[in-house]
Every structure is written in structure tokens, then in C-alpha cells.
Amino acid sequence: MRDSGQPATEAQTIRLEAGRAVPAPKAFNFWSRLRSNPLALISLGMFVGIVVLAVFGPAVYPMSATRPDYASINAFPSADHFLGTDNLGRDTLARLLQGMRVSLIVAVYVETLNIFLGALLGLLAGFYGGLLDVLVTRLADMLFAFPGLLLAILVAAAFGPSVTERFGGIGRLLLVAGSLSLVSWPLMARLVRSRVLVLREQEFVTASRSLGGNRPWIMIQHLLPNILGMVLVASTLDIASVVINEAVLSLLGLGIQPPDPSIGKMITEAMPFLEANGWQVFFPSAALMAIVLTVSFLGDGLRDVADPSAST
């Protein structure tokens, strides 16, 4: 059928349209399908668990995340410190709970920016083509090659002090991370655009167009559901790099400000002590992996649940 090259017949079109018609699933439908998808259910449970830990953990767990104890530096896990202590004798569990909160905030924030800028521009560029496509792809090429580090340094220096004063350390962190997503959205845009380039030539789109469907409607009705999977996958994968990038930024003094932790920061702080106390690298790394795996499988699950035709 791919090779037919001929306009689809009306009958085909109708069939295709029917096959592709995926209106938003009704709520009860969604939950019943979710219940029958164990992986999605488990991932959802774990994800909720992680969020609950990050949100309420620091308030419930009594140890301080920032108070040092120079008598027990780099201690192994014990009854006093369930996950041991870091290189200044601070309780690792307390830091991890606090750090997860910071890392999740940053990840959600950067991904929102990324999806908003990248997916939206990629969709528009791929679909409308022409001058818009040229502008968006050139802009994307340019920003992709741009030294994000330099931009982050500039932004942190120019706006950092006033933002820190008003919104605290996390405000500055979001500012710097935001400046990084300015150079990272092109990747998402390029992925989406190339997918749209293929999709818009497919029968259900050409057919819908020949039937006089207006363009925004085609985009929302046909293209959006089809790129959703890719956007979800790309952004869940991105979360790991956002968390790590935050740590790399802090190596330059542009990430979270000490003594506050983030997952990436905990890993970079513990790395030099890998051989002295590997636990301190292991715990935050495991947390990072857990977040990435959970979010990825959750993304898979949600996609399957939202689109019945996806599960085979």
C-alpha cells in the first residue's frame, strides 16, 4: 500500500479514518484499562511513591540534610544513619530525600520547557513546511551548536544575584537550567519534525486533507496522537540527562548552591570517595536509575493505555 502512490479511494479513506479515530478515552475506560496493564500500574505506583517521598520525606524524616558531623565522615550504613553519611558527615538519607525533591522539580521544569518549545515548534515546522520550516530548523541547528555552558555562565552571572535574592538558591538553579533547555529543545524539535514529515504524507492525513479537513484540526486529530509516543519517550529519556546536567553545572558552581543537595550533586560529591565509601555513589545513582526506569515504563504504560491500538 505504501508503494501505491495513488490517491486513496474514498472507501479506503473512510476505513482508515475509522481505524485512526482515537478520541480521548473516557475516564472510566482509562482506569479500567490501566488496571489491566500491570506494568503501567506498578510504574504508576512507584512514581507516586517517589513523588510522595520527595514531597513529604524531608518533613517526616527527622535528620538534617545540611548539618555536618565531623566525627562520622563517610560512615557506612548503620542504625544511626540508614544510608550512611557523606564526606562531611551529613545523613545520606536526609540528603537523598531533599535531593530528589530538587532534582524532580528541575526535571519537570526543564521537560515542560523542552516539550513546549521543541515538540510544538517541531510539529508546526514539519506540518506547515515552507518558510516556517526553514526558520525553525535553522534556528534549531544554530542553537544546538551553541555552547550552552557559556550561555549558562552568562545567565547565572547576569541574572543570578537578583534571582537568588528573590527566589533563593532553587530560583537560580531553575534560571540556569532554563538557559540550558534553550539549547536542548532543538533535539526534540528535530525528532518531532522528522516524524511529522513522514506522517503528513500518510494516507489518513492526505485523505483527511483532500476531504477538506482544516489544518489545525488535522494536526490535533491525527498528528498529535501519533507523535505523543515519541515525545513521551524522548522526554522520559531526557530526565536522566537533565538530572546529570544539573550535577555537571554544579561542578562549575552553576547548579544547586551548597550545602543543599540534589541527586546529581550528591553523585558528583561522592565520586572522589568511590573507593573509600562506594555506598555514597551507589545510593543516589540507584535513585537516579529508579526515577529513569519508573518514568520510562510509566510513559510506555500510559501510551498503551491511552491508545488501545498500540498494545498488540
Binding site: 505504501r2 515552507g130 541547528d141 533535539l187 514529515l197 513522514v198 529519556l237 546529581g264 526506569l293 498488540t312
Partner: protein, 312 residues
Amino acid sequence: MLKLIAKRLVSLPFVVISITFITFIVGYMAPGDPILAMLGGRTDPAAYERLKHSYGLDQPWQDQYLDYLSGLLRGDLGLSFRFQGRPVADIIASGISVSTALGLAALAGSLVIGIPVGLWAGVHPNSKRDRVGMALMLMLYSIPSFVLIGLLRWFNYQFYLRGLPSLPVAGWGRPEHWIMPVIVLASASMGYIARLTRVSMLEVQRQDYIRTAHAKGLYNRRVLWTHALRNAALPILTVIGPSIAFVVTGAFVVENLFSIPGIGFLSVQAIQQRDYPVIQSTTVILALSVLLMNLITDMLYMAVDPRVRVEG
């Protein structure tokens, strides 16, 4: 296709000019001073003024930029600040070939492993093999590269201690120097590629012609490998673009941690030393390579699926 190439060539000068301009402006405004970096933290106002003058940094910014641009037109990339008086072209020339070779090796490695794993998982979605395979890939992906390097070095040291063959843990020049960086660089992008391949495969499978083929009673595996794989080729091609991007970004960390004299290494060192002429040139080179890679992937799309129209 010639038209595509011609169009891209026309837009080339604009991209170069805008990239150099933005880099220049950001560099000009960014805090940190190349002259101070040169003076190694000592304060000697007379020496400071002398150096500033000899590098033309006391000129107004427009003049500095125009000087740079006119040099660029003559094929002169200017002189490095840090390596006093050394031509930038001379500094980055060897870096380009090192980075290209390393990047291609890592790209080949990650494609050769990532695509089959992704296909394999996508053919049997939600099976145990799919889950385990993807979980492994995701774990490789979510380990920060500096942690992976630390682990590899530790194992390597244990080998060395026991008189077993071991690898050089950093450096460049001998064939053994390639192994660790390629493993680290490939393992991150491998996960990315496997996952994107898997989702492309899933999305192709739920297309109607596959279902029609199934309905026609065609044998499952044949449908997959003949129909689906051919159609998945295009989305998989789109994976190559981002994975090149991925390898380029990864090279910044990996080249630095392994002391490999490539472009990523030079850029980071130049940013830290505020060596603007070098930063400008590495940025332009990165941008050009991104443009080139995009052009190649777009041409491949057109070759694989003639219906695809790519604006250029």
C-alpha cells in the same frame, strides 16, 4: 535533491554569521576576563592594560566583531588568547579529526547494538525479553558517564593489581586508548537509540497496512520483517540524527575525563579560559557538522521514501 543541497548552501553564510554573532555577544557580556585568566590571578594593572591592548580587547565590541568576521572571510580564524599568538586553525585542526574518529566509532558501536536491541524488543512488545532488554539499556543510559568511568577504572585497576592485562585509563595516541572512551560514549547513546527504535517499531506495527496484512492471514514474522521493517527504516533513520547529536554532547564529558585532545575538550578548556577566538571556531565547526549531518539524513529520507518533501 540537488535543489535541496543548493538551498542549504545558500543559507550557510547566514547560519555562520548568526552563530558567530551570538557567540561573540554572549562572550562579550559573560563575566570572567581572558586577560585575568592569563595573568593567573595576579593583579598588576600595568601588565593588565598592556595585554588587553595587545589582544585588541580595548576596542569597542563592534570593531572586535568586524575584525573577527573579516578575518573569517579571508579564512583566518584568528589567534588564540591563551596560547598566545598561536593560530586557532592550528589548534583545532587536529581536534577535528580526533573527535570525528572517536565519534564515528562510538556512533557505530551504539547503532550496531542499539538498533537490533530496539527492534528485538519492539517485535515482542511487553514480553519478558522486551522488559529485560530495555531495562538494561535504560540502566546503561542513566548511569552518569563519570560514574561509569569510575567503575571501569576500578575494575581495570583490579586487573592491573593481579597482573592481568589492563588498559590505559586516559590519554590518546595508542590503539588501546580508544576502548574505554568508546564504551562510555556508546553506552549512553545506545539506550537512547534502542528506545527510540523500539517505539518506532511499535508505531509502525500498529499502522493499518500491517493490520491488513495480518487480516489477510499473512504469517506473522514475515509481515514484520518485510512490511514493518521496511517502513520502520525511516523512523530509524531519524534516530541517527539525534544520536549524532548525542555523541557530540557526550564527547564533551568523555573527552575531558579521558584527556582526549578533541573538539569537546578544546571547547570546554577554552570556555574556562575565556579563549573566545577558539570558542567561536569550535562553535562554527559544531554547527557546520550538525548542518551536514541533517542534510545527509534529509537526503536519506528522500531516498527511502520519495513522497517525503523536505523544505530546505
